[in-house]
Symmetry: C2
Subunit: 106 residues, 2 copies
DNA sequence: TTTGTTCGGACATAATTTGTCCTAATTAAA
DNA sequence: TTTAATTAGGACAAATTATGTCCGAACAAA
């Protein structure tokens, strides 16, 4: 697995788009949305839908699951930042994931 | 810090309520909502609001931030479970938290 | 300038959330 | 067993939030 450069989802998409030398207009057309929305997604002002993430993966030749993981980790980071106190909620969350998995299976 | 027993937020609240020997009706009244909603919260069928979490903390004499961390870690666990692939999104999220913090400060 | 891109707000519509109310199922008490 | 109370869960309405369009301002490049 290649090393992940840490940035927000929006920044990542913007980078991909600029590297491809495409204006918002072009990519937005492929996503079938208004350019201003894509601009907002790149500024982390709006959330992309799963469908849009899928299309972005195709457009920029990215692994779909990788891009989805970029998105979800963003979402999680924002949730963590909601907390001001010192509880390590990522550690707790990790345990809950295990708990919920065993619960589902039995 | 006392050891955290891992369970979902809803299960945790239910336990607190049953330990206190209170019916949904009583606690719901204090939260100023219908008992069925509280029941759903305890079955993880509905999300509590921040305001409700605050009130629950008071009712059951819990630290508000602790209870909030119980809630947020739940939310995060559910997000993680959305992902089927093997990317360790909690690790990525952790790095993004650091990234966003330095970004905010400078 | 002129042209194209990006930013960001006002607005409409769609989707989701939040709560009430009611009935059925379950549990506890008499 | 009967009766009463609690809990489960669905239909519905209202409120809130999300999603997208459209437009004009700001900015950049030609």
């Amino acid at each position: 697995m290649a090393k992940r450069k840490i940035s927000t989802f929006g920044e990542y998409i913007r980078q991909l788009r600029e590297n491809a030398g495409l204006p918002l207009r072009k990519v937005a057309a492929q996503l079938d949305i208004d350019p201003s929305i894509l601009g907002k997604i790149e500024r982390n002002d709006r959330q992309p839908s799963k469908e849009q993430i899928k299309k972005l993966a195709v457009i920029f030749d990215q692994d779909e699951n990788y891009l989805l993981s970029e998105y979800l980790s963003d979402q999680i980071a924002y949730k963590v930042l909601e907390e001001e106190s010192n509880f390590d909620i990522l550690k707790v969350a990790e345990k809950k994931v295990a708990y919920l998995k065993t619960k589902k299976n039995g």
